[in-house]
Amino acid sequence: MGVRLFPEISGEQRLMLDSVIRLVESNCPLPVVRRQAEQNRLGDADLRREFADLGCFGLLVHEDHGGGSLSGNGVVDAALVASERGARLQPGPFVGTNVVAYALSEAGTTPGLEALADLVAGKASAVWAFDGALVGDRRSVLAVRQDGDELVLDGTVCGVQGADECDWILVSALSSDGPVQVLVANPTGGMTLERVDGMDITRRFSDIHFSSVRVPARQRLGGSADAEGLLNRQLAVACVLSAAESVGAMDANFQLALEYSRVRIAFGRPIGSFQAVKHLLANTSLLLEMAKAVVAGAAVKLGAGAPDGPALASIAKAFVGERAVELTHNCFQVFGGIGYTWEHDQHLFMRRLASESFLYGSPVAHRRSLWSHADVSTGARTGERTGGRVDA
């Protein structure tokens, strides 16, 4: 059973999703995810290449650069894949690699293109490390300065998911002249990755420390023409894919609780026949449908280049971020005691959903961003969304 992020999809999309689902279920179903987490093992590079063979890392990449979407809207296609992966709590830097591939392809600068080809082919993976000010997280701070034909990076970016298994890191700093984005190979001198603890045990997180890391200035992404625009679209893509992963996990968590309510007996009846449980599930199901609706809508608009695509992405991230936590609490209540056991999957979903809510910006941060990009003097549409810090 798929997540059905979109009620109606094309035959081609269905075909790809079926392949993705098959690939996951035969190579990395939930028991394998759990074992990997308990044994603290890195992701499987062979599996990544198989995802790549299905086209999973080229969906947001121009055809000129070896990529291509199925439907003409790469964000929609990538969100579909993300939702199915999320439903199965897949580890690994899927969002990171896709966002970096998107950025490299959009920027189209030469050194990036070599890395891009590897990303699309699954030979390498990437993560995105950005200054926390972009999403109102004060813990991550990056300074960048130009020194001759080199850029010098200092600072720390906290909690980058999947960084310990990536080959490339796209680093985005915010200078007074605007954003500076630069692709850094992993490892690189002066850059230290430190594994840190995380709530979501299905994934691995690292803090990345930069101590006078020097990068040739020509590795800087894109011109400065639309540097802010690109950064914002990147963030929007990350938000939609992250929210799509959450929606997948929400769907799977909900289906488990629903099924349990049908078979669990109490007081001579299945518990799902009690209004207390039935209405809780109905309310939860409404939240889930709303979450799917807004992520789908955001993917459509963002992928189509609509001017309000990034705003819709923020809306999706804000809504899903809050409702995912609510949904997993509700499911927990249906499971009762059994949900407290380590062997039950409920806690894996709760960990994933609560954790994901804060990746790429919390709901509060995205609401702040919505305000700062709206024209409140008239309440009417503004010009292009422009970059800007969101203060926490």
Partner: protein, 423 residues
């Protein structure tokens, strides 16, 4: 159906010409105000609307898809759509809420279940603007429990005597007929002893009282029936098979309304103008907390719009699930209307406790708050929607039912002596 005599493009042109010649533009004439009008003013307004409807009827633009034998034109739906497109800018007859009920719910239900004789008698008059129908549906004792009506029609020779009371009939105070659900067999199970009747609003024994609402307006009515005399001619559908008719009516009712109107416009960057204006009026547009409240409402607004799009797609995909899926739209409004009203209240920050001048944004905050539970209550409460989603969409096991297997007479008696004991 015979091939229509006129091509669609010619039809469209002719309709456009007729409209230009016969009806004012939409913006030239204001909408009638039935609620606030005096009795005399009300009659004058209704008569004016009837006259316009009559003109449409005479010109052949009423009941475009309805059967010819009942006063319609028998044309395919595309002709109706063509006319509607042409008519968009014109001021069509506006009978307020009773208009929607007459044409969108009652007449369509009648067409599905009424006898030919009944339809020949009423439909042409409906199309000509002579008969406005409203629903006499809910009993005061039975709201969400639609089949629990106690208003009864008792056989008396070859006639029926109607007694009891109906409530929440929108616009009954200016309608001509009520389509009334009555119990005709107390010894049959609840859903099997019901019959629909057409009841003249001004018949002897009918009393109509307007209900003043908490916001001050009064579009709803309550009716009292004191042995109102009806005949077999007034029966709609089969006697004691009223529940079948009800199912049809509910389908039209839900299709015709009840869904949330999209609030947010097309552009997701545009924040809710009402809340921005409200914050401006109390001087807190620069307050970060207020900004969070406004954007929170905005997020919900946009997500609700997106939900309606999704619901549409789900309905197209699996029509069997349509009724269950429609409950999502209703429940979303029921859930988020009060949330939004509370957000506005908080933004007002005391300005809704008292305000100076009728046009103040705060006045709207209050009426929105008072009416915010409308969707949670009217046309099936949230509890009903949750049951519907739980059982029809999610496939959860049913609730125990205590009112469907025994004579309704016993249902009423047993409910009074409820003990919770079953086995």
């Amino acid at each position: 159906m015979p091939e229509p005599l006129i091509g669609i493009e010619d039809y469209r042109r002719q309709a456009g010409k007729w409209l230009t010649a016969n009806l004012p533009r939409r913006d030239e004439v204001s909408r009638p105000d039935f609620d606030g009008a005096s009795d005399e003013e009300l009659r004058r307004q209704i008569d004016a609307e009837r006259a316009v409807q009559r003109r449409l009827y005479d010109a052949g633009y009423a009941g475009i898809t309805w059967p010819v034998e009942y006063g319609g034109q028998g044309l395919p739906e595309e002709y109706e759509r063509a006319f509607a497109a042409e008519a968009r800018g014109f001021r069509l007859p506006d009978f307020g809420i009773a208009g929607g009920t007459t044409f969108g719910v009652c007449a369509r239900t009648m067409l599905a279940h009424g006898s030919p004789a009944f339809l020949r008698r009423h439909l042409p008059r409906i199309l000509a603007g002579e008969e406005l129908f409203v629903q006499f549906f809910s009993d005061p004792e039975a709201g969400s429990d639609l089949a629990g009506v106690r208003t009864q029609a008792v056989r008396d020779g070859d006639r029926w005597l109607l007694s009891g009371s109906k409530i929440w009939s929108s616009g009954a105070y200016y309608a001509d007929w009520g389509m009334c659900l009555a119990r005709t067999d107390w010894d049959a199970p609840k859903h099997r002893g019901l019959t629909w009747f057409a009841v003249p609003v001004r018949a002897a024994g009918v009393t109509v009282q307007r209900i003043r609402q908490i916001t001050g307006s009064a579009e709803f009515c309550q009716e009292f029936f004191d042995d109102v005399v009806l005949t077999d001619d007034d029966v709609i559908g089969e006697v004691n098979d009223g529940w079948t008719v009800t199912q049809t009516m509910l389908l039209f009712e839900r299709g015709g309304g009840g869904e949330a109107q999209p609030r947010a416009g097309g552009d997701a960057r545009r924040l809710p103008a009402d809340l921005v204006e409200l914050a401006r009026s109390v001087g807190t547009l620069d307050d970060a907390h207020t900004q969070q409240l406004i954007t929170r409402a905005h997020v919900d607004d946009v997500v609700r719009d997106q939900l309606m799009t999704r619901i549409g797609a789900l309905m197209r995909l699996d029509p069997r699930l349509a009724a269950g899926v429609a409950s999502y739209g209703k429940l979303a409004s029921a859930t988020f209307d009060p949330v939004r009203a509370n957000l506005a209240l908080e933004i007002a920050n005391g300005a809704a406790s008292s305000w100076n001048g009728a046009g103040t944004p705060a006045a709207r905050v209050v009426s929105d708050l008072l009416s915010s539970r409308f969707m949670a209550i009217a046309g099936g409460t949230s509890e009903m929607q949750r049951n519907s989603i739980g059982e029809r969409v999610l496939g959860l096991p049913r609730e125990p039912s205590f009112d469907s297997g025994k004579p309704f007479r016993e249902v009423v008696r047993d409910a009074q002596n409820w003990s919770g004991k079953v086995s």
